[in-house]
């Protein structure tokens, strides 16, 4: 009832606004415009802060935002991140964010829609998510895969959030978490954290094979979590409780590992999200360091970004990360209930 009143008042307001003509869109970051780059001068900037996304208010006009926050009360936006975990972005610029907070779902920030908006799926219907963890994109088949660690399933949805199928139901997961899809080879990687391995499927959900088992030697895992692939189809697995990233080729052969346990740069404590930029640099989010560290493909440490806090470029228990084709970096800032977006600045002459 109350929600209906809210909706009705918003609709009426919408009409008033339409009648008044266009009101400029404002973004969350607009109230703090000082440029933020890493590293600081005189070094060349490599990463630039772009903006923060949190709810449909990020796309609302100033007046709607004011009405929602002042008249209806703060946080009244219905589609708002609560405890986001991971993120993936398709070629249309749709940002899919898993949220395993009080209303588990996938929130979609539709940046490039005619009228940018936020909507959700997986909160009911044919496949209701309970603990959505990771999300990844199959661009050729226009699918979004979502792992759920409590349902122990990985589901495929259309780009519009319609449930399509589950991965091979004969395969039992201990706890499916990290996802990555290699479109060139039609390989879908699913990390099974509790079984300490990585299960490989094709894009249609047929099971192919498994790599790894529990251990601390090369090619074995201890609570692996997130995963990414580079331009060559090499696989980067956050082997979280072995405090390292393990790199495999697309055949599943071990190449090398990056990092070790410790509380200083180049080390890991609670390694989670992994992503690669257009130059195949590796970005590794560490939940307990409240930052992401960047390594080159040889595993040498380049830089890190972030510390604990609520400001731009600061994090509270960050988790998932994604880098799109324009080298935009999306980092899920879980306990700040937001997504932070950065831009990788490439220098093509350097290499």
């Amino acid at each position: 009832m109350q929600r209906n009143v809210k909706r009705l008042s918003l609709i009426i307001l919408g009409f008033i606004l339409l009648a008044l003509g266009s009101i400029p869109l404002t973004t969350f970051a607009a109230n703090d415009t000082e440029e933020l780059v890493w590293p600081l001068p005189p070094d060349k900037p490599r990463v630039r802060f772009v903006k923060t996304l949190q709810s449909e208010d990020d796309y609302a006009s100033g007046f709607i935002k004011w009405f929602r926050n002042v008249i209806l009360g703060a946080d009244s936006a219905e589609n708002r991140l609560d405890r986001p975990f991971s993120v993936a972005v398709n070629s249309e610029g749709r940002i899919y964010v898993t949220d395993n907070g009080k209303a588990p779902c996938v929130l979609v920030f539709d940046e490039n829609a005619k009228k940018p908006t936020v909507w959700r799926f997986g909160d009911g219907g044919r496949f209701a998510l309970v603990s959505p963890i990771d999300v990844t994109i199959n661009e050729p088949a226009k699918l979004v895969y979502v792992s759920d660690s409590i349902l122990k399933k990985v589901a495929a949805f259309t780009f519009d959030g319609e449930f399509k199928f589950l991965l091979d139901p004969t395969v039992e997961f201990g706890n499916p978490t990290g996802l990555a899809y290699d479109a060139q080879r039609d390989l879908l990687y699913v990390v099974d954290t509790k079984n300490h391995d990585v299960k490989i499927f094709d894009g249609s959900g047929a099971y192919l094979r498994t790599i790894g088992e529990r251990g601390s030697t090369e090619g074995t895992f201890n609570f692996p979590s997130m995963v990414a692939i580079d331009s060559q189809g090499n696989l980067y697995i956050a082997d979280s409780m072995n405090f390292r990233i393990q790199v495999f080729d697309s055949q599943g052969s071990f190449i090398h590992s990056i990092g070790s346990i410790g509380d200083g740069p180049g080390h890991f404590s609670r390694l989670k999200g992994i992503a690669l930029d257009g130059d195949d640099n590796i970005y590794a989010v560490d939940t307990s360091f409240n930052n992401f560290q960047i390594f080159n493909s040889e595993g040498q440490l380049l830089m890190w970004v972030g510390n604990g806090g609520r400001d731009r470029g600061q994090f509270m228990l960050p988790s998932g990360i994604w880098i799109d084709e324009q080298d935009k970096i999306y980092v899920v800032d879980r306990f700040n209930s937001r997504l932070q977006i950065f831009q990788y600045i490439a220098y093509p002459d350097e290499s």
């Binding site: 609560d82 603990s131 660690s149 404590s269």
Partner: protein, 223 residues
Amino acid sequence: MLRFKRTGIHGKGVRRMRKTIMILAVMVSLFIITGSVLAAGIVGTKHDLSANRDDGQVCVFCHVPHNPTDKTLLWSRDIPTGTFTMYANSTLDGTIDDNLSGTASLLCMSCHDGVTATDITLNNGTNLGGEGGKDLSNDHPVNITYAYGVDPGLKDPDAVECILFGEDDNKTVQCASCHNVHGQNAQIAGVTKTEYQDNHGNIMKFLRVTPEKSGICLDCHIK
């Protein structure tokens, strides 16, 4: 004036330092004595995350060894020698949701996010009591002040089994108030698993008080 003051602090500082060293020495020896006991409590429990159950490395998963960098940052001229600050930021304040900084509870939530541990800790201050008031795992707020004397429904903090953090009027409830994460109450030999106990005789979920007949709730709450 300033110089005098500095000298004063310096003199006091030396005495203080001696005292600190002594206290530290006592603490270290206590840690050595009790450490093995605590570790023994963890071994085999769900908080034993070691890949090889016989290599004895059970502490590092939460207590990260101090290991500053031996690397240079290729993108930055500054060579870092420090370490990352974990779970701390003193500038934060606000609601239950926002002020976890510097608390031990953040340490728990860095794994209890649905991935390494599938039970997700939200602490978003809503839906307290869960469905039917039975499931507190997602919902009992942490870093909340223990309002003894203000809330007549709370017992004297000195009389509870659970551990409250902080001093006097500022005592707070954290994850570790109710959960003994080290599980040192384990009685590994000859225990049978019950509804309220795991295979090692620990009270389930590392609770400090049994949930049988809502014991864990009634430890603090007068109902």
